[in-house]
């Protein structure tokens, strides 16, 4: 501590070490938050449903996605990534997941939303299994904190069914 340089070095080292501790505690404080997100998705219309020339089924949907993810946000949350996936089972694969829509929520104010949209990404099956298929729409989210570990969770909505015939 006898010279200018030694004091500057000691100050910087201690300041940054303490900053790391503050970030760790901030990350830990997220545990006190118990989120209760809600989501609801309506399939308003099957726009078209057909077999592509290569034999794979493809369907186009119009969706109403409403969700309240405000409780996911804490003071240590940078943003939340959400995506809506269609999930169903086929004889070949026990779980098929197809992302239909996604979005990035930058702030708590944007975390309560109602979106009316057609599927942003194509709903194509690997095969011809979609006729009369029961499927789930699952809202997945990934929480990206300012400091700490990313976390992910989901909300499964059941009871959706595709028509028996192409249209």
């Amino acid at each position: 501590m006898h010279s200018f340089g030694y004091r500057a070095n000691a100050l910087l080292t201690l300041a940054i070490t303490i900053l790391a501790f503050m970030c760790a505690i901030a990350s830990f404080s997220d545990n006190f938050n118990s989120p209760i997100p809600t989501a609801e998705v309506q399939v308003l219309n099957i726009n078209w449903f057909q077999k592509k020339p290569d034999g794979d089924d493809e369907v186009s949907l119009t969706l109403n996605i409403s969700a309240d993810l405000q409780s996911l946000f804490t003071w240590n949350t940078k943003q939340v990534f959400v995506f809506l996936a269609a999930e169903y089972e086929t004889p070949k694969n026990s779980l098929n997941q197809i992302s239909l829509w996604d979005g990035i929520i930058p702030t708590k104010e944007h975390a309560k939303f109602l979106i009316h949209t057609t599927n942003k990404y194509r709903f194509v099956d690997q095969g011809s299994n979609l006729r009369g298929k029961d499927f789930n729409l699952t809202l997945h989210w990934h929480v990206m904190p300012k400091t700490g570990k990313m976390s992910a969770n989901k909300l499964v909505m059941t009871g959706y069914r595709l028509p028996e015939t192409y249209r």
């Binding site: 901030a26 804490t74 003071w75």
Partner: protein
């Protein structure tokens, strides 16, 4: 006299204690303010302000830290007293005794 290049011993002790106390206090205050207001940015800015303040207090060699300067004996005064035996001579005596 101006600002001394090196701090005295008491000053160094004081400056180290000040640095640690100030930084930890600012960290606690910044965390509480940030948590209360729910703003991570406020926490960082408060702490950054505290670090800058601590730097201004502890890095420059303020006169406060130089109140206990070491008083070396004047060489002319030292001449009046007998010089201590050199380490070399001491070891020779011991070896001859054996």
């Amino acid at each position: 006299m101006g600002i001394a290049l090196y701090m005295d011993w008491q000053g160094q002790k004081l400056v180290e204690q000040l640095m640690q106390t100030l930084l930890v206090s600012f960290a606690v205050v910044a965390f509480l303010i940030g948590y209360m207001l729910g703003s991570f940015q406020t926490m960082l800015l408060t702490y950054a302000g505290g670090v800058v303040f601590t730097a201004l207090v502890t890095i420059p060699n303020w006169p406060v830290y130089n109140r206990n300067s070491l008083n070396w004996l004047d060489p002319s005064l030292a001449e009046k007293y007998p010089k201590p035996l050199s380490a070399n001579a001491g070891s020779k005596k011991k070896s001859t005794k054996k």
